[in-house]
Symmetry: C2
Subunit: 192 residues, 2 copies
DNA sequence: TGTAGCATGTAAGCCGTTACATGATTGA
DNA sequence: TCAATCATGTAACGGCTTACATGCTACA
Protein backbone atom coordinates (compact mmCIF):
# COMPACT_ATOMS: atom_id res chain seq x y z
CA UNK A 1 0.00 0.00 0.00
CA UNK A 2 2.52 2.53 1.09
CA UNK A 3 5.07 1.43 -1.48
CA UNK A 4 8.69 0.62 -0.87
CA UNK A 5 10.05 -1.78 1.72
CA UNK A 6 8.06 -1.39 4.91
CA UNK A 7 10.18 0.87 7.15
CA UNK A 8 10.71 -1.70 9.91
CA UNK A 9 9.02 -0.89 13.19
CA UNK A 10 11.13 0.38 16.04
CA UNK A 11 11.52 -1.55 19.24
CA UNK A 12 9.01 0.59 21.09
CA UNK A 13 6.42 0.12 18.37
CA UNK A 14 6.91 -3.64 18.57
CA UNK A 15 6.54 -3.47 22.32
CA UNK A 16 3.28 -1.55 21.93
CA UNK A 17 1.91 -4.16 19.55
CA UNK A 18 2.90 -6.91 21.96
CA UNK A 19 1.14 -5.19 24.83
CA UNK A 20 -1.97 -4.62 22.74
CA UNK A 21 -2.00 -8.32 21.88
CA UNK A 22 -3.20 -8.84 25.47
CA UNK A 23 -6.25 -6.73 24.79
CA UNK A 24 -7.30 -3.18 24.02
CA UNK A 25 -6.18 -0.42 26.34
CA UNK A 26 -5.78 3.31 26.74
CA UNK A 27 -2.35 4.86 26.51
CA UNK A 28 -2.31 5.22 30.25
CA UNK A 29 -3.19 1.55 30.81
CA UNK A 30 -0.59 0.51 28.29
CA UNK A 31 2.01 2.38 30.28
CA UNK A 32 0.96 0.48 33.38
CA UNK A 33 1.12 -2.80 31.53
CA UNK A 34 4.63 -1.94 30.41
CA UNK A 35 5.64 -1.00 33.94
CA UNK A 36 4.35 -4.32 35.23
CA UNK A 37 5.94 -6.55 32.67
CA UNK A 38 8.24 -5.18 29.99
CA UNK A 39 10.03 -2.99 32.46
CA UNK A 40 11.81 -5.98 33.99
CA UNK A 41 13.44 -7.28 30.86
CA UNK A 42 12.93 -4.77 28.10
CA UNK A 43 12.12 -1.13 28.73
CA UNK A 44 9.63 1.18 30.34
CA UNK A 45 8.87 3.67 27.59
CA UNK A 46 7.94 7.16 28.71
CA UNK A 47 4.30 8.09 28.33
CA UNK A 48 5.17 10.63 25.72
CA UNK A 49 6.89 7.99 23.66
CA UNK A 50 4.00 5.59 23.99
CA UNK A 51 1.51 8.19 22.81
CA UNK A 52 3.80 9.03 19.95
CA UNK A 53 4.08 5.41 18.88
CA UNK A 54 0.34 4.86 19.23
CA UNK A 55 -0.27 7.83 16.98
CA UNK A 56 2.10 6.48 14.37
CA UNK A 57 0.69 2.96 14.59
CA UNK A 58 -2.81 4.32 14.23
CA UNK A 59 -1.78 6.33 11.20
CA UNK A 60 -0.19 3.18 9.76
CA UNK A 61 -3.41 1.25 10.26
CA UNK A 62 -1.94 -1.34 12.62
CA UNK A 63 -3.92 0.02 15.53
CA UNK A 64 -7.42 1.49 15.70
CA UNK A 65 -8.53 4.05 18.25
CA UNK A 66 -12.02 4.66 19.52
CA UNK A 67 -13.39 6.79 22.33
CA UNK A 68 -15.10 5.33 25.32
CA UNK A 69 -16.90 6.95 28.24
CA UNK A 70 -15.29 6.14 31.52
CA UNK A 71 -16.35 7.44 34.88
CA UNK A 72 -18.55 10.48 34.67
CA UNK A 73 -18.21 12.39 31.50
CA UNK A 74 -14.68 11.64 30.52
CA UNK A 75 -13.83 10.23 27.10
CA UNK A 76 -10.88 7.84 27.05
CA UNK A 77 -9.07 6.97 23.88
CA UNK A 78 -8.87 3.19 23.66
CA UNK A 79 -6.49 1.46 21.28
CA UNK A 80 -6.78 -2.02 19.81
CA UNK A 81 -4.91 -4.06 17.22
CA UNK A 82 -6.50 -4.13 13.78
CA UNK A 83 -6.39 -7.18 11.54
CA UNK A 84 -3.37 -5.55 9.89
CA UNK A 85 -1.80 -5.15 13.30
CA UNK A 86 -2.22 -8.83 14.05
CA UNK A 87 -0.76 -9.68 10.68
CA UNK A 88 2.23 -7.45 11.30
CA UNK A 89 2.78 -9.03 14.70
CA UNK A 90 2.75 -12.49 13.14
CA UNK A 91 5.05 -11.35 10.35
CA UNK A 92 7.44 -9.89 12.87
CA UNK A 93 7.56 -13.12 14.86
CA UNK A 94 8.01 -15.25 11.77
CA UNK A 95 10.40 -13.19 9.68
CA UNK A 96 12.43 -10.67 11.63
CA UNK A 97 15.66 -11.71 13.25
CA UNK A 98 16.00 -11.29 17.00
CA UNK A 99 18.40 -8.49 17.90
CA UNK A 100 21.01 -9.26 20.51
CA UNK A 101 20.22 -8.59 24.13
CA UNK A 102 21.74 -5.36 25.33
CA UNK A 103 23.18 -5.08 28.76
CA UNK A 104 24.74 -2.02 30.28
CA UNK A 105 26.22 -2.12 33.77
CA UNK A 106 27.41 1.20 35.11
CA UNK A 107 28.68 -0.66 38.13
CA UNK A 108 30.99 -2.73 35.95
CA UNK A 109 32.31 0.41 34.27
CA UNK A 110 33.27 1.80 37.67
CA UNK A 111 34.88 -1.42 38.81
CA UNK A 112 37.21 -1.26 35.82
CA UNK A 113 38.92 1.61 37.61
CA UNK A 114 38.28 0.32 41.12
CA UNK A 115 41.90 1.01 42.02
CA UNK A 116 41.14 4.73 41.76
CA UNK A 117 38.23 4.61 44.19
CA UNK A 118 37.73 4.33 47.92
CA UNK A 119 37.23 0.61 48.65
CA UNK A 120 34.36 1.33 51.00
CA UNK A 121 32.59 3.27 48.32
CA UNK A 122 33.13 0.42 45.86
CA UNK A 123 31.61 -2.08 48.26
CA UNK A 124 28.70 0.27 48.89
CA UNK A 125 28.11 0.48 45.13
CA UNK A 126 28.00 -3.30 44.90
CA UNK A 127 25.59 -3.44 47.82
CA UNK A 128 23.41 -0.80 46.24
CA UNK A 129 23.21 -2.78 43.03
CA UNK A 130 22.31 -5.89 44.94
CA UNK A 131 19.55 -4.12 46.81
CA UNK A 132 18.17 -2.74 43.60
CA UNK A 133 17.98 -6.20 42.10
CA UNK A 134 16.51 -7.59 45.29
CA UNK A 135 13.75 -5.00 45.17
CA UNK A 136 13.11 -5.74 41.51
CA UNK A 137 12.82 -9.41 42.33
CA UNK A 138 10.18 -8.72 44.95
CA UNK A 139 8.22 -6.57 42.51
CA UNK A 140 8.43 -9.14 39.74
CA UNK A 141 7.41 -11.94 42.08
CA UNK A 142 4.27 -10.02 43.01
CA UNK A 143 3.45 -9.62 39.33
CA UNK A 144 4.05 -13.27 38.52
CA UNK A 145 1.97 -14.41 41.49
CA UNK A 146 -0.76 -12.02 40.44
CA UNK A 147 -0.95 -13.72 37.05
CA UNK A 148 -2.57 -16.79 38.59
CA UNK A 149 -2.12 -20.25 37.10
CA UNK A 150 -5.53 -20.35 35.44
CA UNK A 151 -5.52 -18.07 32.39
CA UNK A 152 -3.78 -20.00 29.61
CA UNK A 153 -3.26 -16.90 27.49
CA UNK A 154 -0.92 -15.58 30.16
CA UNK A 155 1.09 -18.78 30.24
CA UNK A 156 3.88 -17.33 28.14
CA UNK A 157 3.99 -14.18 30.21
CA UNK A 158 4.26 -16.27 33.36
CA UNK A 159 7.09 -18.23 31.81
CA UNK A 160 8.99 -15.07 30.98
CA UNK A 161 8.41 -13.88 34.53
CA UNK A 162 9.78 -17.10 35.94
CA UNK A 163 12.83 -16.73 33.75
CA UNK A 164 13.23 -13.22 35.11
CA UNK A 165 13.06 -14.40 38.70
CA UNK A 166 15.76 -16.92 37.98
CA UNK A 167 17.80 -14.19 36.33
CA UNK A 168 17.54 -11.96 39.39
CA UNK A 169 18.48 -14.83 41.70
CA UNK A 170 21.58 -15.56 39.68
CA UNK A 171 22.46 -11.88 39.49
CA UNK A 172 22.41 -11.60 43.26
CA UNK A 173 24.60 -14.64 43.60
CA UNK A 174 27.03 -13.14 41.10
CA UNK A 175 27.16 -9.94 43.11
CA UNK A 176 27.82 -11.87 46.30
CA UNK A 177 30.77 -13.58 44.66
CA UNK A 178 31.95 -10.29 43.27
CA UNK A 179 31.78 -8.72 46.70
CA UNK A 180 33.94 -11.47 48.16
CA UNK A 181 36.48 -11.01 45.40
CA UNK A 182 36.64 -7.29 46.07
CA UNK A 183 37.07 -7.81 49.79
CA UNK A 184 39.89 -10.23 49.16
CA UNK A 185 41.52 -7.80 46.77
CA UNK A 186 41.41 -4.74 48.99
CA UNK A 187 42.62 -6.67 52.01
CA UNK A 188 45.48 -7.97 49.90
CA UNK A 189 46.55 -4.51 48.82
CA UNK A 190 46.14 -2.98 52.30
CA UNK A 191 48.51 -5.63 53.58
CA UNK A 192 51.20 -4.78 51.04
CA UNK B 1 35.76 27.91 35.66
CA UNK B 2 32.97 27.47 33.23
CA UNK B 3 30.36 28.64 35.70
CA UNK B 4 27.17 26.90 36.65
CA UNK B 5 26.81 23.32 37.77
CA UNK B 6 29.13 21.16 35.72
CA UNK B 7 26.94 19.68 32.99
CA UNK B 8 27.39 16.04 34.03
CA UNK B 9 29.29 13.88 31.61
CA UNK B 10 27.40 11.41 29.50
CA UNK B 11 27.93 7.68 29.80
CA UNK B 12 30.14 7.53 26.73
CA UNK B 13 32.33 10.33 28.01
CA UNK B 14 32.75 8.48 31.30
CA UNK B 15 33.61 5.33 29.40
CA UNK B 16 36.25 7.22 27.43
CA UNK B 17 37.82 8.55 30.62
CA UNK B 18 37.84 5.05 32.09
CA UNK B 19 39.57 3.67 29.02
CA UNK B 20 42.12 6.45 29.03
CA UNK B 21 42.87 5.67 32.67
CA UNK B 22 44.67 2.60 31.34
CA UNK B 23 47.02 4.79 29.37
CA UNK B 24 47.10 7.19 26.45
CA UNK B 25 45.76 6.03 23.13
CA UNK B 26 44.57 7.14 19.71
CA UNK B 27 40.87 7.18 18.93
CA UNK B 28 41.33 4.03 16.94
CA UNK B 29 43.08 2.23 19.78
CA UNK B 30 40.43 3.39 22.20
CA UNK B 31 37.81 1.81 20.01
CA UNK B 32 39.71 -1.46 20.14
CA UNK B 33 40.03 -1.22 23.89
CA UNK B 34 36.28 -0.71 24.13
CA UNK B 35 35.62 -3.67 21.85
CA UNK B 36 37.80 -5.88 24.00
CA UNK B 37 36.39 -4.91 27.35
CA UNK B 38 33.47 -2.52 27.68
CA UNK B 39 31.60 -4.19 24.87
CA UNK B 40 30.80 -7.19 27.06
CA UNK B 41 29.07 -5.35 29.86
CA UNK B 42 28.60 -1.77 28.82
CA UNK B 43 28.66 -0.64 25.22
CA UNK B 44 30.74 -0.53 22.10
CA UNK B 45 30.51 3.10 21.03
CA UNK B 46 30.80 3.78 17.33
CA UNK B 47 34.04 5.37 16.18
CA UNK B 48 32.21 8.49 15.22
CA UNK B 49 30.84 8.81 18.72
CA UNK B 50 34.24 8.20 20.28
CA UNK B 51 35.86 10.91 18.19
CA UNK B 52 33.04 13.22 19.07
CA UNK B 53 33.45 12.59 22.78
CA UNK B 54 37.22 12.95 22.58
CA UNK B 55 36.80 16.29 20.90
CA UNK B 56 34.42 17.46 23.61
CA UNK B 57 36.62 16.14 26.41
CA UNK B 58 39.62 17.85 24.89
CA UNK B 59 37.72 21.12 24.64
CA UNK B 60 36.70 20.70 28.29
CA UNK B 61 40.33 20.21 29.30
CA UNK B 62 39.86 16.72 30.72
CA UNK B 63 41.88 15.18 27.94
CA UNK B 64 44.93 16.46 26.08
CA UNK B 65 45.78 15.55 22.52
CA UNK B 66 49.18 15.51 20.93
CA UNK B 67 50.44 14.27 17.58
CA UNK B 68 52.87 11.44 17.27
CA UNK B 69 54.66 10.01 14.26
CA UNK B 70 53.79 6.40 13.71
CA UNK B 71 55.05 4.28 10.87
CA UNK B 72 56.39 6.30 7.96
CA UNK B 73 55.12 9.77 7.77
CA UNK B 74 51.79 9.43 9.43
CA UNK B 75 50.75 11.62 12.32
CA UNK B 76 48.52 9.95 14.86
CA UNK B 77 46.47 11.95 17.32
CA UNK B 78 47.12 10.52 20.77
CA UNK B 79 44.87 11.34 23.71
CA UNK B 80 45.72 11.26 27.40
CA UNK B 81 44.02 12.24 30.62
CA UNK B 82 45.04 15.60 32.02
CA UNK B 83 45.31 16.29 35.73
CA UNK B 84 41.80 17.69 35.47
CA UNK B 85 40.70 14.50 33.80
CA UNK B 86 42.06 12.42 36.64
CA UNK B 87 40.34 14.68 39.11
CA UNK B 88 37.04 14.37 37.30
CA UNK B 89 37.38 10.58 37.22
CA UNK B 90 37.97 10.53 40.97
CA UNK B 91 35.11 12.93 41.57
CA UNK B 92 32.83 10.76 39.46
CA UNK B 93 33.76 7.64 41.43
CA UNK B 94 33.35 9.38 44.77
CA UNK B 95 30.28 11.51 44.24
CA UNK B 96 28.03 10.37 41.42
CA UNK B 97 25.39 7.75 42.07
CA UNK B 98 25.53 4.57 40.04
CA UNK B 99 22.70 4.39 37.51
CA UNK B 100 20.75 1.16 37.38
CA UNK B 101 21.87 -1.55 35.03
CA UNK B 102 19.84 -1.60 31.87
CA UNK B 103 18.87 -4.83 30.27
CA UNK B 104 16.88 -5.27 27.10
CA UNK B 105 15.98 -8.71 25.84
CA UNK B 106 14.26 -8.78 22.48
CA UNK B 107 13.90 -12.50 22.93
CA UNK B 108 11.83 -11.98 26.07
CA UNK B 109 9.60 -9.51 24.26
CA UNK B 110 8.84 -12.13 21.63
CA UNK B 111 8.20 -14.84 24.18
CA UNK B 112 5.49 -12.69 25.73
CA UNK B 113 3.43 -13.46 22.64
CA UNK B 114 4.84 -16.93 22.09
CA UNK B 115 1.35 -18.27 21.59
CA UNK B 116 1.16 -16.32 18.33
CA UNK B 117 4.34 -17.84 16.91
CA UNK B 118 5.42 -21.12 15.40
CA UNK B 119 6.87 -23.19 18.27
CA UNK B 120 9.80 -24.31 16.17
CA UNK B 121 10.67 -20.73 15.42
CA UNK B 122 10.47 -19.88 19.11
CA UNK B 123 12.85 -22.69 20.01
CA UNK B 124 15.19 -21.59 17.23
CA UNK B 125 15.17 -18.07 18.67
CA UNK B 126 16.13 -19.40 22.08
CA UNK B 127 18.89 -21.49 20.53
CA UNK B 128 20.16 -18.48 18.61
CA UNK B 129 20.35 -16.44 21.79
CA UNK B 130 22.21 -19.22 23.53
CA UNK B 131 24.71 -19.48 20.73
CA UNK B 132 25.27 -15.77 20.77
CA UNK B 133 26.04 -15.84 24.47
CA UNK B 134 28.23 -18.87 24.05
CA UNK B 135 30.28 -17.06 21.41
CA UNK B 136 30.56 -14.01 23.64
CA UNK B 137 31.78 -16.19 26.46
CA UNK B 138 34.52 -17.60 24.30
CA UNK B 139 35.59 -14.11 23.24
CA UNK B 140 35.59 -12.80 26.78
CA UNK B 141 37.53 -15.78 28.04
CA UNK B 142 40.24 -15.09 25.46
CA UNK B 143 40.44 -11.49 26.66
CA UNK B 144 40.58 -12.42 30.34
CA UNK B 145 43.26 -15.04 29.70
CA UNK B 146 45.19 -12.49 27.68
CA UNK B 147 45.29 -10.17 30.66
CA UNK B 148 47.75 -12.44 32.46
CA UNK B 149 47.90 -12.64 36.25
CA UNK B 150 50.97 -10.42 36.60
CA UNK B 151 49.98 -6.81 35.98
CA UNK B 152 48.36 -5.55 39.19
CA UNK B 153 46.81 -2.53 37.49
CA UNK B 154 44.69 -4.88 35.44
CA UNK B 155 43.49 -6.75 38.52
CA UNK B 156 40.18 -4.95 38.59
CA UNK B 157 39.65 -5.48 34.89
CA UNK B 158 40.32 -9.18 35.36
CA UNK B 159 37.82 -9.28 38.19
CA UNK B 160 35.15 -7.67 36.04
CA UNK B 161 35.94 -10.16 33.30
CA UNK B 162 35.56 -13.07 35.69
CA UNK B 163 32.24 -11.70 36.80
CA UNK B 164 31.24 -11.51 33.14
CA UNK B 165 32.18 -15.14 32.54
CA UNK B 166 30.05 -16.16 35.46
CA UNK B 167 27.23 -14.05 34.09
CA UNK B 168 27.40 -15.75 30.71
CA UNK B 169 27.48 -19.19 32.32
CA UNK B 170 24.38 -18.43 34.32
CA UNK B 171 22.65 -16.94 31.29
CA UNK B 172 23.19 -20.12 29.34
CA UNK B 173 21.80 -22.19 32.15
CA UNK B 174 18.78 -19.91 32.32
CA UNK B 175 18.20 -20.38 28.62
CA UNK B 176 18.47 -24.15 28.96
CA UNK B 177 15.78 -24.10 31.64
CA UNK B 178 13.69 -21.78 29.53
CA UNK B 179 13.97 -24.11 26.58
CA UNK B 180 12.74 -27.03 28.64
CA UNK B 181 9.80 -24.99 29.86
CA UNK B 182 8.88 -24.08 26.30
CA UNK B 183 9.14 -27.67 25.14
CA UNK B 184 6.87 -28.76 27.95
CA UNK B 185 4.39 -26.04 27.14
CA UNK B 186 4.14 -26.68 23.41
CA UNK B 187 3.85 -30.44 23.92
CA UNK B 188 1.09 -29.78 26.41
CA UNK B 189 -0.88 -27.64 24.02
CA UNK B 190 -0.33 -29.95 21.04
CA UNK B 191 -1.81 -32.73 23.10
CA UNK B 192 -5.00 -30.83 23.88
C1' DT C 1 -11.29 20.92 49.73
C1' DG C 2 -7.50 18.95 48.33
C1' DT C 3 -4.66 15.20 46.74
C1' DA C 4 -3.81 11.09 44.30
C1' DG C 5 -4.68 8.91 40.29
C1' DC C 6 -6.50 9.07 35.46
C1' DA C 7 -5.62 10.91 31.05
C1' DT C 8 -3.31 13.16 26.94
C1' DG C 9 -0.29 15.34 24.69
C1' DT C 10 4.04 18.91 22.82
C1' DA C 11 8.87 20.51 22.69
C1' DA C 12 13.61 20.24 23.36
C1' DG C 13 17.54 17.86 23.73
C1' DC C 14 20.86 14.03 24.39
C1' DC C 15 22.62 9.76 23.12
C1' DG C 16 23.79 6.68 19.80
C1' DT C 17 23.90 4.28 15.24
C1' DT C 18 24.48 4.08 10.21
C1' DA C 19 25.97 5.85 6.21
C1' DC C 20 29.12 8.56 3.95
C1' DA C 21 33.77 10.32 2.89
C1' DT C 22 38.78 10.18 2.76
C1' DG C 23 43.35 8.72 2.80
C1' DA C 24 47.96 6.41 4.48
C1' DT C 25 50.64 2.12 5.60
C1' DT C 26 51.85 -2.69 5.83
C1' DG C 27 52.36 -7.05 4.24
C1' DA C 28 51.02 -10.89 1.15
C1' DT D 1 49.15 -4.42 -6.76
C1' DC D 2 45.63 -5.52 -3.85
C1' DA D 3 43.60 -6.15 0.61
C1' DA D 4 43.59 -5.47 5.42
C1' DT D 5 44.38 -2.48 8.88
C1' DC D 6 45.29 2.06 10.69
C1' DA D 7 43.33 6.47 11.09
C1' DT D 8 39.96 10.49 11.30
C1' DG D 9 36.21 12.59 10.77
C1' DT D 10 30.95 14.67 9.05
C1' DA D 11 25.95 14.26 8.25
C1' DA D 12 21.60 12.41 8.85
C1' DC D 13 18.52 9.99 11.30
C1' DG D 14 16.13 7.56 15.00
C1' DG D 15 15.12 6.40 19.77
C1' DC D 16 14.31 7.76 24.16
C1' DT D 17 14.11 10.87 28.26
C1' DT D 18 12.89 15.11 30.60
C1' DA D 19 10.49 18.97 31.11
C1' DC D 20 6.53 21.35 30.21
C1' DA D 21 1.48 21.94 29.82
C1' DT D 22 -3.29 20.79 30.80
C1' DG D 23 -7.43 19.12 32.84
C1' DC D 24 -10.85 15.69 34.86
C1' DT D 25 -12.44 12.33 38.60
C1' DA D 26 -12.72 9.68 42.82
C1' DC D 27 -12.11 9.57 47.39
C1' DA D 28 -10.75 10.83 52.00
Amino acid sequence: MTGGPRPKLGATAQAALVLLAFGEASGYELKQRADNTLRFFFAAPAMSQLYGELGRLTAAGLVADRFERRGGDRATRVFALTREGHTELARWLAEDTVPATTFKSHLALRLMVGHLADPRRVLADVDGERQRISAERVALLAVVDGLGPDDPMLGWARMVGTWGLRYFDDSMRQLDELRSAIEAKVEGSERS
